[in-house]
């Protein structure tokens, strides 16, 4: 595009960014507004700021419970998947053995599995094992999408690492395993961190499995708890929005802090170049 279209493009871009940001802004404002004002005369500028909704969220609804559950489930799933996934990813990216590309293709295929297709056997399986409404009963199903995702992302990161260091270690008589642990893993730390962040976000946001395999507040994750909020007489919008703000805060913070890495992880190699 020529430079003449520039002001126009910048203006439109600004408008789009504003449109993207507006729902967040509005949720924050509304979560701080008394419900009576909210329903009578919605105002774009907060006139009167109250923290009642946030207080009610923790005092009356025990919202720390779903937060704790989400942290446990997403955290443990991420740690396990990154640990096990890094072995597999290194092997696929760096070693040479038959069936390599078939394995990668299989893993990619699994990332495309519709969750709904395996809900019924997972439910029966967890029920038979007595794991419905438990943490393992969420962590196990979460690995169905988290494991292929981590392997897939990590293969990309391992492939980007320079070969010289690895070969140097190899020449010095280090075994493949030693090379992996002493040379490759430390080099791959940024990639491992990015993969961990992305996996955590996917687990934090998951809804279908958490809805299907939990029964009550003591094991519900944040998305399930928010989706099932009920008021006595009307929709408790103030509290719902306060909860939405809290559920968004950690992922928004992660994204803003690591945006460069996340974008790189998501798109590098998306188009072969």
């Amino acid at each position: 595009m020529s430079s003449r279209t520039r002001p126009l493009a910048v203006g439109a871009l600004g408008l789009l960014v504003a449109a993207i940001a507006f729902p967040f802004y509005w949720a924050v404002v509304a979560s701080l507004t008394p419900e009576a004002t909210l329903f009578r005369a919605p105002s774009l500028w907060p006139r009167e700021i109250i923290f009642d909704h946030y207080r009610a969220l923790f005092d009356e609804r025990a919202f720390w419970l779903p937060i704790r559950n989400s942290l446990i489930v997403a955290g443990l799933t991420t740690i396990f998947c990154v640990a096990v996934g890094s072995f597999a990813a290194y092997a696929i990216a760096r070693l040479r053995f038959r069936g390599q590309s078939a394995i990668l293709g299989f893993i990619l295929a699994v990332t495309m599995f519709p969750q709904i297709s395996i809900v019924s056997p997972l439910y029966l399986m967890l029920r038979a094992l007595g794991l419905i409404n438990t943490f393992p009963g969420l962590i196990l199903p979460y690995m169905t999408f988290a494991m292929p995702l981590t392997v897939w992302l990590l293969v990309g990161f391992f492939r980007q690492l320079p070969r010289d260091l690895e070969e140097a270690a190899f020449m010095d008589g280090a075994s493949r395993w030693q090379t992996f642990v002493r040379v490759m893993l430390p080099l791959a730390t940024p990639g491992l961190a990015t993969t961990g962040i992305l996996t955590f976000i996917y687990c934090w946001n998951e809804f279908l499995f958490a809805l299907s395999f939990t029964l009550g507040p003591e094991r519900q994750t944040v998305p399930v708890a928010i989706a099932l909020f009920r008021g006595q007489y009307q929709v408790p919008w103030g509290e719902i929005l306060a909860a939405a703000v809290i559920a968004t805060a950690p992922v928004a913070a992660l994204v803003l802090a690591f945006q460069r890495r996340i974008v790189q992880g998501l798109t590098a190699g998306a188009v072969k170049g």
Binding site: I20, F87, L95, I118, S120, P121, L153, A227, Q259
Partner: protein, 308 residues
């Protein structure tokens, strides 16, 4: 070029092969155990009558009866229709807006990093939260959509968006577009950044205007990225669940119910595991079919693509 392989070399190859499988094994075992095995189980369930509300009936083999019943199930066909409508509409909008956003971000300006971070946030938040935000925007009383439209004179009085199918789709589509356009834009941006700058210079020298450049340089070279976006988005949109569960609950009635939500209701509301599993198998087959269509028919190369 064949050279005799030195014994030491062959030893290394064997070691490498053994280590390779050893390292891959744990991840493969996990994936096979919790993804592949359940899939086979779903197929097995789907050819049985299995109703958890009536355990005394056991789990008799019924062959393809569930599938025959689905063929005549109006709610199934309606939910398929809703899914196709949702997929088509949202992806069209997301591609157009995403392309614009990507083109705008593909130039250096101050605050580009900030813009990139800002657009990433909707993609990263839980879909459930996005759905709630949009339900609030379209709330009858407190919703800003009504306030704006009444204020602008488009509507005479506030309307109840979720009471009619035609209006209930509006927040659903808008929420999806809002949440996923950034992701589309970022993938397209990665594609744009791979295009050689000199091509534009050459086109400018030849007197090509911005539209001509877009049409004959950018779009053809962006095709691989567009196809990657299309396949990921189609597969994602086809299994839409969270968004509609929270926004409309599939309502009014079942007027916005997608196939994943119908399957979920059959499984976990009605506890009809045989019939629900047959629906699950159909969702899987359709998804699989879409992926094969893209990869074989359009020759999308996914081996380089990562994430979703």
């Amino acid at each position: 070029m064949r050279r005799p392989v030195a014994p030491r070399q062959r030893g290394i190859e064997i070691e490498e092969r053994r280590l390779g499988w050893l390292l891959v094994a744990p991840a493969l075992v996990v994936i096979a155990g919790i993804a592949l095995f359940p899939l086979v189980w779903t197929v097995w369930e789907s050819i049985h009558l299995h109703d958890l509300r009536m355990p005394w009936r056991g789990r008799p083999f019924v062959g393809l009866e569930n599938y025959v019943a689905i063929a005549g199930d109006r709610r199934f066909w309606a939910s398929m229709g809703h899914t196709v409508f949702f997929t088509g509409t949202s992806i069209t909008l997301e591609l157009l807006l995403g392309l614009f956003l990507a083109l705008a971000m593909n130039r250096s300006f101050r605050g580009r990093g900030l813009v990139r971070a800002a657009v990433l946030v909707p993609w990263a938040i839980p879909t459930v939260v996005a759905a709630l935000l949009w339900r609030f925007l379209f709330d009858t009383e407190a919703g800003i959509a009504n306030a704006l439209l009444v204020g602008a004179g488009v509507l005479e009085e506030p309307i109840v968006w979720f009471i009619r199918a035609a209006t209930a789709w509006v927040p659903v589509i808008l929420a999806d577009v809002w949440k996923t356009t950034p992701f589309v834009a970022l993938l397209l941006l990665a594609g744009l950044q791979n295009i050689d700058e000199s091509l534009y210079e050459a086109a400018s020298v030849d007197g090509a205007g911005p539209w001509w450049q877009l049409r004959y340089v950018t779009l053809p070279l962006l095709k691989p990225a567009i196809l990657v976006v299309l396949i990921f988005r189609t597969l994602d949109a086809f299994r839409v669940f969270d968004l509609i569960y929270v926004l409309t609950g599939g309502g009014p009635g079942t007027a916005t119910e997608p196939i994943a939500l119908y399957t979920f209701n059959v499984l976990l509301q009605n506890l009809q595991f045989g019939y629900g599993s047959a629906l699950s198998v159909i969702v899987f087959l359709v998804t699989f079919g879409i992926a094969v269509l893209y990869i074989k028919g359009l020759r999308v190369d996914l081996t380089g693509a990562r994430g979703r």
